[in-house]
Amino acid sequence: MAFQILLNVILAYTWMFLKTSYSSSAFFVGYFLGLLILFAFRNYFSGRFYLFRVYAIIRLIVIFHRELFLSNIAVLKVVLKPKLDIRPGIFAMQTVLEKDWEITVLANLITLTPGTLVVDVSDDNKTLYIHAMDIEDAEDVIQGIKDSFENAILEVSR
């Protein structure tokens, strides 16, 4: 990914030198043309075309903000409810993520999910211990987390 961005910037500068105009618009034109060239040669690089990854990062940020909003609404509902009928509990979740930053992002996203909170990570970085505010079906929650967050993070790092 880093190599592709670097090459794109080099191409943008090459364009500015070819045109002998050193304005920001020349840089943008060169960057755009470099983007088209890199897209045409996307199979040439070992990684994916880097805009896909940029898109995945943007999607992860959108998910992050949506969950932040929803979790606060959910907590507000529980707080304002006159009857306290929640069933708290802790369950373990296996994760396929390996890199440190991936696990950190996943833990933060789970903490922001309505009603769940990461308590601990096991020593081998394979299991997350999650405290749920209202534990009805741990399997459902795990599957939901795997479908939304883990896939979104894998999309970025793959």
């Binding site: 080099i10 191409l11 364009w15 070819l18 618009s25 943008f28 043309l33 470099g34 890199l38 199979n43």
Partner: protein, 140 residues
């Protein structure tokens, strides 16, 4: 003897893109400076030929999954529709038009329909060159 082409391939990795960018610069500069669709197209196919020298036919076909014969047809279609487009405005054939546009980042830009005609030429030149080279290269 099979030699290790590591250095050639690494240099190609950067050089091919600079060549293509230069060819686009030549292609777009055709109105005010030497250049145009023909040299631009030739130079773009030069970059692909450089890839062919560094790698082999099969690898490059995997890198650029393009059917160059379809590319020729597309180029001809673009040129013909640019020419035929003058009918829509009751003008003689091959009448070209231009106008000034204001874009948010780029500022004042002049666009001319002759560039579309040139784009057709560009695609046809790439298509023809690559078809010739690939056909010769594939035959044993």
């Amino acid at each position: 003897m099979k030699t290790n082409d590591l250095i050639l391939q690494t240099v190609t990795k950067v050089a091919a893109f600079v060549i293509i960018l230069f060819s686009i610069s030549i292609f777009l500069g055709g109105h005010y400076s030497p250049g145009g669709g023909f040299v631009g197209g030739l130079m773009t196919s030069c970059a692909v030929v450089l890839l062919l020298l560094a790698y082999d036919l099969k690898t490059v076909a995997g890198l650029l999954p393009i059917d160059y014969k379809i590319m020729i047809a597309c180029g001809l279609l673009i040129s013909v529709s640019t020419v035929a487009g003058s009918w829509l405005f009751d003008a003689p054939l091959m009448t070209h038009a231009f106008s000034d546009f204001n874009f948010p980042v780029l500022g004042k830009t002049t666009l001319h329909t002759a560039v579309l005609f040139d784009l057709g030429v560009y695609l046809v030149v790439i298509g023809v060159t690559m078809t010739i080279i690939q056909t010769i290269g594939e035959s044993e």
